[in-house]
Amino acid sequence: MTINLTMVGQLISFVLFVLFCMKFVWPPLTQVMRERQKALADGLEKASAAEKQLEAANDAAANELEEAKKQSAELLAQARTRANQIVEEAKTQAGEEAERIKLGAQSEIDQEVNRAREELRSRVSELAIEGAEKILETSVDKSVHQDMLNKIAAQL
């Protein structure tokens, strides 16, 4: 174990190697490691953000579907109600129509009856006179008995 000038030489080379490492090796290596760490962190962050987005989109889609279902059910219900309404309306209309037709027929009948009656009435004096002539075998002056005939016609 001898200490000699070798130690000085070794010290110089040690310093030079450390300086080289300090200048050319350490900074780029640590920098690239920092960069990768940052890229990894960014990537992870992005991935979790994307996951959240996907979740939100799924939720939105489910909501939309739910909404659509609800809407279609509503429409269906509306349609059913409308159909019932139409049927009801038709029924009512038909009833009314029937009633009207019935009424029309009735009034026609009444008119016919009235007309028959009027006709009868207008001819009653004729018939009465004819009958009376047959009974009396004479002619009856219509104008003399007009009052009485009118009374009979009014009674009809």
Partner: protein, 277 residues
């Protein structure tokens, strides 16, 4: 690989001697050709093998990591980038746990350099002990120690580098006055204990780099020594011991690199702590 003319002790001595270039006692400079010549050089010598291998491995570290930074991708990284990022992440994790998140430009690159460089130097221990020395001998080089971290010059130089930084941050964070005052007022806060405190703090201060450097040296030196001893066995029996020891050594070399780095971080953390303790 013990040749017939060598005794065991000579073989070991040969394996723990560095290739030394230095100043001979007569004043001329040159490569030592024997252990005695190397010892006679004293401080004015340099271990060529330690320098060569450690600088080569340091260049390998720098080139590998620099190459990885040439085409960095923030997306999916390639194999080399992945390996380098793993090393950087490991270092950053340890710094975060010990040093915290204080802003400091030097502790990261310093720790990374120490971890990888020390690991690569220790890794040379797993190359069979005689492989490179034998090749060197064929090329006419008589001594060749291939594991730089078994040379205290290398480990203490790193520890000393860390120590300078620790002193720098001690003075920067605490202020020169507070730091000096701290040497006299800890651990016993009484004026009469000031000389005692100073002695204690000095021992503490100097023991840190010493133990820091010698721990790595001791572990690697002992491991290397056991490989050398195993290599003294007959060639057909060596595997029985060298294989388990090499497998165990994979743990040791990584652990020692980690320990050296973590101690660096701990010492720098202590230098940054300005509160009372």
């Amino acid at each position: 690989m013990q040749s017939e003319t060598q005794t065991s002790s000579e073989y070991i001595q040969h394996h723990i001697t560095n290739l030394t270039y230095g100043k001979f006692p007569d004043g001329s400079w040159g490569i030592a050709h024997s252990i005695e010549e190397a010892k006679a050089m004293g401080f004015n010598a340099i271990h060529v093998d330690t320098m060569f291998w450690s600088i080569s491995l340091g260049v390998v570290f720098c080139a590998l990591f620099y190459w990885a930074t040439r085409n960095l991708k923030a997306g999916v990284p390639g194999t080399l980038q992945n390996v380098c990022e793993m090393a950087v992440e490991f270092v950053e994790d340890n710094i975060r746990q010990v040093f915290g998140t204080r802003p400091n430009v030097i502790i990261g690159p310093l720790s990374l350099t120490i971890l990888v460089w020390v690991f690569l130097m220790n890794l040379m221990d797993l190359i069979p002990v005689d492989f490179i020395p034998a090749l060197a001998a064929m090329a006419g080089i008589h001594f060749m120690k291939v594991v730089p971290s078994t040379d205290p010059n290398a480990t203490l130089a790193m520890a000393l580098g860390v120590f300078f930084l620790v002193m720098y941050y001690n003075i920067k964070m605490k202020g020169p006055v507070n730091f000096t005052l701290g040497l006299f007022t800890h651990p016993i806060d009484h004026w009469a204990a000031a000389p005692f405190n100073f002695l204690l703090e000095m021992v503490d201060l100097i023991a840190k780099p010493l133990s820091h450097g010698l721990r790595l040296f001791g572990n690697m030196y002992a491991g290397e020594m056991i490989f050398i001893l195993i290599a003294l066995l007959p060639f057909y029996a060596q595997w029985a011991l060298s294989l388990p020891w090499a497998i165990f050594h994979i743990l040791i070399i990584s652990l020692q690199a980690f320990v050296f780095m973590i101690l660096t971080i701990v010492y720098l953390t202590q230098a940054h702590e300005t509160g009372d303790h």
